[in-house]
């Protein structure tokens, strides 16, 4: 029942080989294997089902795009993956989510540890009202890192990773809220990346940005491929086509979101199997 896209065994879709991120460093990998496995997930808000029985396997090291019209439950799926839904009163999850084989709703799961491993970027950049440095340093400290040299090194690396180092190296101690929108979003990505997660969830990370910043962030996301497993919600099909390996299309049926099609991104966009997908993709083209 689980939707699994045809693996790219021949490498035609995905030519370059890559290695998985820091946590799983070293091991070169050409054939990604399932990292996140969702089985029969149905999140509901105060009894109202937002997503109906979704099953899919997401491959490690790849970029997976979630697309579909507004209200079809993309955000709900995304925030189920790091249990951010726990924060929403009245939100219940049915089904099972396993990350690297481990059930994230298991009794012995440390939610904070889970969220450290599964970073999240929101639609609106939300840096804390602290300095640029503190925005990255504070979560690191809270996760047990306290040596100054190590912290500084980690901050610099994260900021370099998101291409922000050159822009902010002279004003690390000025408030993060003085940065531009695009810079703030990159800071948020740096903040998540500094914790060296294995998965990054992104909820329309470019939609609040101007085209230029959006382009910069998009390139940044593409460069994360292989090092992180990225699950990204986007309304921009062209963007999905440019960066995503896989795409999942959701649709509202019977007042609840449903997974319609899950496939390699290019195939989903160019040769959709479902009529709904075809119509959605065409609508966007036309």
């Amino acid at each position: 029942m689980t939707a699994t896209p045809d693996r790219i065994a021949d490498g035609s879709y995905w030519p370059q080989s890559y290695t998985l991120g820091p946590i799983m460093s070293g091991e070169p990998c050409c054939v990604p294997k399932t990292l996140i496995s969702v089985e029969g997930l149905s999140p509901s808000y105060s009894g109202k089902t937002a997503l109906e029985n979704v099953s899919l396997d997401i491959d490690g090291g790849c970029i997976t795009a979630l697309i579909g019209p507004s209200g079809c439950g993309k955000t709900s799926l995304l925030s189920s993956l790091n249990r951010l839904t726990d924060l929403i009163p009245g939100c219940r999850l049915a089904g099972r989510i396993r990350i690297d084989g481990e059930d994230i709703h298991g009794v012995d799961v440390n939610v904070q540890g889970l969220r450290r491993r599964v970073g999240m970027i929101f639609q609106r950049p939300n840096p804390f009202p602290l300095s640029i440095r503190r925005n990255i340093e504070m979560p690191l400290r809270e996760h047990g890192m306290s040596r100054r040299s190590e912290l500084d090194e980690r901050i610099e690396r994260a900021l370099r990773d998101v291409g922000l180092w050159a822009e902010v190296r002279d004003r690390l101690d000025s408030p993060a809220l003085t940065l531009s929108g695009g810079q703030q979003q990159r800071l948020c990505i740096a903040r998540a990346v500094a914790l060296e997660p294995s998965i990054l969830l992104m909820d329309e990370p470019c939609s609040a940005l101007d085209p230029l910043s959006s382009g910069i962030v998009e390139d940044l996301i593409a460069s994360l491929r292989g090092r992180y497993t990225v699950v990204i919600v986007t309304h921009n099909l062209a963007q999905a086509r440019r960066i995503a390996n896989y795409a999942a299309l959701f649709w509202v049926q019977n007042r609840a979101g449903t997974l319609i099609e899950f496939d390699q991104c290019r195939r989903l966009l160019e040769a959709p199997r479902s009529d709904i997908t075809a119509a959605y993709v065409r609508g966007h083209r036309g």
Partner: protein, 284 residues
């Protein structure tokens, strides 16, 4: 034509009221100054701070013990009220189960509305005997501070609560997504963001404590002395006015106005500091 008349009349009466309302301050200051003048001009301002004790009938007008007592009781009260007030706001917003939090908010609002004379009465009949049992005479600096802190705690709590309510929800989502615990979020994100308002609320609370009369008059013993321990009875500036106004005449009466003027000045500086700090305060 008649419409113009009506509008002009309206404008005139509005302006007249505004002049009256803001002229009131001038009037108050003028009167306090005029009534203080005899004492100030005859004994000089330094006599109020470096004199030989407070023996107003014999021309000794040293306010120092009262000033020290006022400052001591109210800063101590603030030191107690601020942690409790902040904790109350945190509890109400982030810890309490919904119904419980609502009830707790009610308690804070009721406390805020309790007249100070009632708090004084309660302190005199319950807290003072307890302190007497610890160290006589019971009516003391510490009794005054504790009851004052009960009085001003709601100011800090409600101000902090309003500041917390104004913070964007996205802080919590952002912090949770980074795997921060609730306490880590509070310490690193929430409290720093609400700092200005907490500061403003605390200063306002201090000003209220300094200006309060009934509580300190009723529970802190009213002995003119510079306190050497928490259990010493003290007399604050406000209590001094309330106690002696009834029979004071001449320079004595005038010297009470001097202390009133000093008190008003002190409280004003604090009120302006609170406003300038940029935090939003809730008047409770």
């Amino acid at each position: 034509m008649s419409r113009l008349d009506r509008d002009t009349r309206l404008l005139w009466s509005l302006s007249a009221s505004a002049v009256l309302a803001s002229g009131l301050l001038l009037l108050i200051v003028l009167f306090l100054a005029a009534e203080s003048w005899p004492a100030l001009s005859r004994v000089g301002i330094q006599a109020f701070f470096f004199g030989k004790g407070w023996h107003p009938t014999e021309g000794a007008f040293d306010l120092t013990p009262m000033l020290v007592a006022s400052l001591a009781t109210s800063t101590l009260a603030m030191a107690v009220a601020v942690p409790f007030g902040v904790a109350s706001a945190l509890f109400q917003r982030f810890y309490a189960p919904v119904l419980f939090g609502q009830i707790y908010l009610w308690i804070i609002v009721l406390l805020a509305g309790t007249p100070s004379v009632v708090l004084g009465l309660w302190g005199l009949t319950t807290i003072v005997p307890l302190i007497l049992w610890l160290a006589p005479p019971g009516t003391s600096l510490i009794a005054g501070s504790l009851i004052l802190s009960l009085m001003i705690m709601p100011t800090v709590a409600l101000t902090t609560d309003a500041a917390l309510a104004a913070l964007p929800q996205s802080h919590w989502a952002g912090a949770a997504a980074l795997g921060l615990s609730r306490e880590a979020t509070i310490i690193n994100v929430i409290l720093p963001s609400a700092r200005a308002s907490i500061f403003a609320g605390s200063i306002l609370a201090l000003a209220r404590a300094l200006g309060e009369t009934m509580v300190v008059l009723m529970v802190s013993g009213n002995v003119v002395q510079v306190p050497t321990s928490l259990f010493d009875p003290v007399r604050t500036l406000t209590a001094n006015i309330a106690l002696e106004m009834a029979y004071a005449t001449g320079d004595h009466r005038s010297s009470l106005f001097v202390s009133g003027l000093a008190l008003a000045g002190l409280v004003l500086i604090l009120a302006i500091a609170a406003r300038r700090s940029g935090g939003h305060v809730v008047h409770a």
